[in-house]
C-alpha cells in the first residue's frame, strides 16, 4: 500500500497533480450549484417585493 502511494518516487509530483484536478472538479460543481441557487433566491426575492407592491 505504501508502495502505491510512493509511486516510485514520483509521489511529490503525481499526487499534487491529482489533488489540483480533484479540487477543480469539486469547485466547479459547487460554484455552478451556488450560482443556480443564488439566481433562484434572487428571483424569489424580486417576486416577493412585486407581490407586496400589488396586493394591498
Amino acid at each position: 500500500m505504501s508502495e502505491f502511494f510512493a509511486m516510485d518516487g514520483y509521489a511529490i509530483f503525481l499526487w499534487p497533480a491529482y489533488l489540483v484536478t480533484l479540487i477543480a472538479i469539486l469547485a466547479n460543481v459547487m460554484l455552478a450549484r451556488r450560482a443556480h441557487a443564488e439566481a433562484k433566491q434572487e428571483a424569489r426575492r424580486r417576486f416577493a417585493i412585486e407581490d407586496e407592491g400589488s396586493s394591498p
Binding site: 502505491f4 509511486m7 497533480a17 489540483v20 484536478t21 477543480a24 472538479i25 466547479n28 450560482a35 443564488e38
Partner: protein
C-alpha cells in the same frame, strides 16, 4: 425549411426545463466513468517503460487539456450563433462556458508543470505549445473581464462574442504547435488520425477519463446555463411558475 425546432431551442423556459431534466443524465455517468478511470489509471494500468509510475499524471493532464480546448470551441460556437441569429440563449451558453474553461486550462497548466519537472527537467519553458495554452487561459480571463466590464447585457454579449470568435485562431495553434515547430512537448498520443500510441490497458482508462470529463462539463454547463437564464430573464412570468 421548418425552423420551429430552432426557435424552441431559443426559448428560455423550454431550455431551462430541458436543462434541469438532462443534468443528472450527464452527471451520474460522468461520476462513474471518472471513478472507474481513476482506478484503471492509478492501479490497473502498467507503468510506462520510460516514465515509470510518473506517466500516470497523463490521466489528469490530458483530460483537463482536452476540456480547456473543447470548452473554448463550444463557447466560440455558441457566441457565433448568438451573434448571427440574435439568440439570447446561445449567448447565455457562451457566458456559462468561460469560468469552467478557465478553471480547466489552469489545471492543464499546473498538472503539465508537475509532469514537466521530473520528466523534462523544468516546470516551465517558453515553448510554442505551453505558450499557446497560456494564451488560451488569458483569452478566458479576457472574455470574463470584458463581460464584467460592460453593464448593458446586449452589448456585453456582442462584444464578448467577437472576442471569443477572434480567439478561435489560437485553437489550431495549440493543436498543431507540436507539429509545426520544434517543441519540447510530444505529439498527441490519442487525438490523431493514426492508431493510438499506447496499449489498450493504458488507453482504456484515458478514454474513459476523456469521456467522463466531457460528460462532467455537459452537466456543469447545464446547471450554469439555468442560473444564467434566471439572471437574464429576471421578471419573466414563467420563472414564477418554475419556482413555485
Amino acid at each position: 425549411m421548418n425552423w420551429t425546432w430552432f426557435h424552441r431551442l431559443g426559448s428560455p423556459p423550454h431550455i431551462y426545463r430541458i436543462a434541469g431534466t438532462l443534468t443528472p443524465w450527464f452527471a451520474w455517468p460522468a461520476g462513474l466513468l471518472i471513478v472507474a478511470a481513476l482506478y484503471g489509471g492509478l492501479v490497473l494500468a502498467p507503468p510506462d517503460y520510460q516514465q515509470g509510475e510518473g506517466f500516470r499524471i497523463l490521466y489528469v493532464h490530458a483530460p483537463s487539456a482536452w476540456l480547456a480546448v473543447m470548452i473554448y470551441g463550444v463557447m466560440a460556437s455558441a457566441a457565433a450563433v448568438g451573434l448571427i441569429w440574435r439568440m439570447k440563449v446561445a449567448h447565455a451558453v457562451a457566458a456559462s462556458c468561460a469560468g469552467v474553461g478557465a478553471w480547466f486550462t489552469a489545471v492543464s497548466l499546473v498538472t503539465g508543470m508537475l509532469w514537466g519537472k521530473p520528466m523534462w527537467g523544468t516546470y516551465w519553458v517558453w515553448d510554442p505549445r505551453l505558450t499557446a495554452q497560456l494564451i488560451l487561459f488569458i483569452l478566458y480571463l479576457g472574455y470574463m473581464g470584458l463581460r464584467a466590464g460592460i453593464d448593458d447585457l446586449g452589448r456585453a454579449d456582442r462584444a464578448s462574442a467577437v472576442l471569443a470568435i477572434v480567439g478561435v485562431v489560437n485553437i489550431p495553434i495549440i493543436r498543431y504547435s507540436v507539429e509545426w515547430w520544434n517543441s519540447i512537448h510530444q505529439a498527441p498520443s490519442v487525438m490523431k488520425m493514426d492508431r493510438p500510441s499506447m496499449p489498450l490497458d493504458m488507453l482504456a482508462p484515458l478514454l474513459m477519463m476523456l469521456l467522463g470529463f466531457t460528460l462532467y462539463f455537459a452537466a456543469i454547463l447545464l446547471v450554469r446555463l439555468r442560473a444564467e437564464i434566471l439572471r437574464r430573464e429576471r421578471t419573466a412570468s414563467w420563472i414564477r411558475e418554475v419556482l413555485r
